[in-house]
């Protein structure tokens, strides 16, 4: 392989580049990134960055010398617009064709948005530019913020806005926040976190429309139950879609992400692997930071080997910081799994709990209990995802 092109220059793309070099690839390496920024870490965007506690420089995922050591050609601010596997080329915006032998697909995901005319004051939060724009709007005195969606991004944004002293309402279509992810009991815990901190949580109702003033700036939110919420700033956190639109018609199999095997390999096309949020590996697509960090080592090994010699085995893990509580969840939780408190209690805002199925532990959840969480997480990982703890 003489040229490998990594498309997407965030966590998964950068780590793929690092893995290529550390696994001995010494050919040409091209990094294509739609954003103009060098790779940076996204998790702090909804938390420390939004609150003004860290600067953009602090988010950098690689220092200048580390970037230099990669010896890559960086095409930042450049969108990939297509892939031509038979010809072995990547199509870049402006019509440029980039010949390549290997491709790492790491384009991530893009936030879903509500239908309707775009209005000033309506934000999504995915990129550094998104976060900077939102932070700017939050820096002009107290405003009324409506957060649409009480998932992890929504909850963290609401928490940050509340900390900054804004008047915050969270709208969630489901009966509780994070119900599919955490189940009823823990969903109620998360709902309490909002209300305990003066945030108004409106569940069980959707958003019908956003309405603007004569200047095209958002003015109020119309709910499906007919109520109107006045709003100076709206943040939508209603999930993301894998960034695969540019691959349509390329022959790369797509189904809610790039369809690849358990090792990130696009089985039908030689020389193509996918990592991070865009990759649907063995039927499962993860949107976790830890997956984006862990998948490249395996996918790059397979890319360089020319076949799948290794598959992903890491236990799913994510964390969320909201209202001073650090939540950590690891494992494969399913809807019917039952929750058992191991230590602490939700009332204390500090606990360790496990999800169980047929007497075995399937997942572990903790609030402000990092050390025992790590112990159970490691036990769970060692036992292959089902353990007796």
């Amino acid at each position: 392989m003489r040229t490998v092109t990594v498309i997407g220059a965030s966590l998964a793309g950068l780590y793929a580049a690092m893995e290529l070099r550390s696994q001995g690839y010494d050919g040409r390496l091209v990094m294509v990134g739609e954003e103009t920024h060098r790779p940076y870490d996204r998790p702090p965007l909804s938390k420390e960055f939004l609150r003004g506690a860290v600067t953009a420089e602090r988010l950098s995922l690689a220092e200048a010398d580390e970037i230099g050591e990669l010896d890559a050609d960086w095409l930042l601010g450049t969108r990939a617009e297509g892939l031509d596997p038979p010809a072995g080329s990547v199509l870049l915006e402006g019509g440029r064709r980039l010949p390549t032998d290997g491709v790492v697909l790491a384009t991530g995901a893009v936030p879903r948005t509500l239908p309707g005319e775009p209005l000033h004051g309506v934000h999504t939060l995915r990129t550094l530019d998104d976060a900077a724009a939102l932070r700017e709007e939050l820096s002009r005195g107290q405003v009324r913020v409506v957060v649409i969606g009480a998932g992890f991004i929504g909850a963290e944004v609401a928490s940050s806005c509340a900390t900054l002293g804004h008047n915050v309402t969270v709208v969630e279509a489901a009966p509780q926040p994070l119900l599919p992810q955490l189940g009823d009991e823990m969903a109620r815990f998360c709902a309490d976190l909002h209300t305990d901190h003066g945030v108004s949580l409106q569940t069980g109702c959707g958003v019908k429309a956003l309405h603007g003033d004569v200047h095209g700036r958002v003015d109020w939110v119309e709910l499906t139950d007919g109520r109107h919420l006045p709003a100076d700033v709206v943040v939508t956190g209603i999930g993301v879609s894998p960034a695969t639109g540019w691959l349509r018609g390329s022959g790369v199999p797509l189904d809610d992400g790039v369809v690849c095997d358990g090792g990130g390999v696009v089985a039908s096309l030689p020389g193509i692997v996918a990592v991070g949020d865009v990759a649907r590996c063995a039927g499962h697509r993860s949107e976790h930071w830890s997956s984006a960090m862990e998948q490249p080592a395996v996918a790059v090994r397979n890319l360089l080997a020319g076949s799948t010699v290794e598959t992903h085995t890491a236990l799913p893990y994510f964390w969320s910081d909201q209202y001073g509580v650090r939540l950590q969840l690891a494992g494969h939780r399913e809807q019917a799994d039952t929750l058992r408190m191991v230590e602490g209690s939700p009332e204390d805002r500090s606990f360790l709990a496990v999800y169980e199925r047929d007497g075995a532990t399937t997942a572990v959840l903790a609030a402000n209990r990092p050390r025992p969480f790590t112990r159970l997480r490691r036990e769970l990982a060692r036992s292959g995802g089902l353990a007796t703890v």
Binding site: M18, D41, S290, M293, R371, T374, R378
Partner: protein
């Protein structure tokens, strides 16, 4: 020098966080005592709550690992080393030699809280 605790209060495998500015974590790694800056150089997490294995501590948030002897990260996502500080035991009390000009004792809590 900053007093940490009695040696018997820091058994092997345990750690203590000193509420200084910046905070310092003191570890008993199988009988050897080490002190490093407590905050992971990657993101805001307390290494005193991390997973201790030999002389390596794994960050509880993202599993970055640091060598307590040198402070250097042994794997991503951390890339910067944590500062290390000499530790000594005098008459059964553990002391950390932290640079006074960079570290100030927080409030009146001379002693750290067990992690």
């Amino acid at each position: 020098m900053i007093p940490v605790c009695r040696l018997e209060d820091l058994p092997a495998g345990d750690s203590i966080r000193l509420d200084l500015e910046p905070p310092i974590a003191v570890f008993n790694a199988d009988g050897e005592l080490y002190a490093v800056d407590d905050t992971c150089t990657h993101q805001d997490a307390s290494l005193s709550e991390g997973w201790l294995e030999g002389c390596l501590v794994e960050c509880p948030l993202h599993a970055a690992s640091f060598d307590l002897r040198t402070g250097k990260p042994t794997c991503l996502p951390a890339r910067r080393a944590v500062r290390t500080h000499p530790v000594s035991v005098l008459d059964g009390t553990v002391w950390v030699h932290a640079p006074a000009e960079e570290t100030t004792q927080a409030a009146e809590a001379g002693q750290g809280t067990a992690a």
